[in-house]
Amino acid sequence: MSASEGSSGGGTVEYIQHHLTNLCVGDCDPVTHKAASFWALHLDTVFFSYALAALIIIVSWRLGRSLQTDVPSGFQNFVESILDFVAQQVRDTFPGKNPLIAPLALTIFLWVWLMNFMDLIPVDLLPLLASFLGIGYLKVVPTTDLSTTMAMSLTVFALILYYNIKTKGLIGYGKMFLFHPFGKFVIPINIVMTAIEELAKPLSLGLRLFGNMFAGELVFLLIALIGGSAAIGFGLLLVVPLQVVLDLAWLIFHILVITLQAFIFMVLTIVYLGMATTSDH
């Protein structure tokens, strides 16, 4: 992002909007750069999320080739402790055994954490580098794109539906809509309530992560504006240290936030799937 837009007072909104616009290719609105139809690809979101996914696979693959059974080295210890942590969460919250849940939870935790981590890279750094390559828009945090968070939550929702039907049967699952939570006398209310309850699961999953990361990114942008909006001169002496201190504070706090959000997404996935695989409802 170029500095000229941040220097004027009216550029503030423009600066923020510019930062929050995806690099859209395909069928996009030429003015707002928002997706206009199904055939619009957010190239930045896809690029960074795929790159981070590839990073996970490559690092795992390299680690897998040098596994030490007897005396694990430093990095293997670290990964093992993450695995143990995830496995413990699954043991605590998921009833029964399922070979898919733990790898799913681990994938969510690692991928979401890494995508959230992109938030800690200085907000202007990557867009500035991209602008040298002629790329006008770049949103580096894939989890600030609803497409990413909803993609994950909808996949989880599909699994919820699958396990519900697998465990309870199509009729059993249908009965849950009819007779839950108020018994057999208020079936219409039950249908509405259960439908809301089921739909709230993917929505809350996807929107919570999106909202948190979007807000975090916004705060970083606002902090970045403190220095950017000050005129060159005396004001910088006061404003630049303030920006550095605030940025550092939010950065440290945000490490907690990104970890917590990845953890919440993982745990809620385990809980929802645990509910889906229990037959007594």
Binding site: F38, A40, H42, S49, E80, W111, P142, S147, T148, A151
Partner: protein, 156 residues
């Protein structure tokens, strides 16, 4: 929010990533950790078994030593008995042998004496016949005077 190809791309990425995380990270590491757990458990069990085996072996060794001591004492006792028996036997056989030798010697002496006596008798009769014939200047027929000679020999 529009449903776009981005959403689809992210769903595909998510599913593929789950597959790969399971394949290259979760499976190998949990398998390895399970193997390690088993190895440790086996090691501890082996150590426990080793300690128990050692205790048993010590007990057995003590038993064997006790048995050996008992056997050794028995053997020593038997040997002592046997040796005294041998000594007694030797004594007895020596004594009887000596008696036998003495007896044989006595018998021989007696036989020799008798033989000498017999010879003497014969000689005496011969001498008597010779003496008498000299005195009578006449041949004496030994057969005619056999009874006389026999009496004479018996008197010696």
């Amino acid at each position: 929010m529009n449903i776009t190809v981005t959403l689809l791309a992210q769903v595909i990425a998510f599913v593929v990533l789950i597959y790969f995380v399971n394949k290259v990270l979760w499976k190998p590491l949990t398998d390895m950790m399970d193997a390690r757990q088993k190895k440790i458990a086996d090691g501890l069990a082996a150590a426990e078994k080793g300690i128990k085996d050692q205790e048993l072996a010590e007990k057995k060794a003590l038993d064997v030593i006790g048995e050996a001591k008992k056997q050794a004492a028995e053997i020593v006792g038997l040997a002592q008995k046997r040796s005294s028996e041998i000594v007694d036997d030797a004594k007895n056989s020596a004594k009887s042998e000596a008696e036998k030798i003495v007896h044989a010697a006595n018998t021989e002496i007696e036989q020799e004496l008798n033989r000498a006596k017999e010879q003497l008798r014969k000689d005496v009769s011969a001498v008597a016949v010779a003496g008498a014939s000299k005195i009578l200047k006449k041949e004496i027929n030994a057969n005619e005077h056999a009874d006389l000679l026999k009496d004479l020999a018996a008197q010696i």
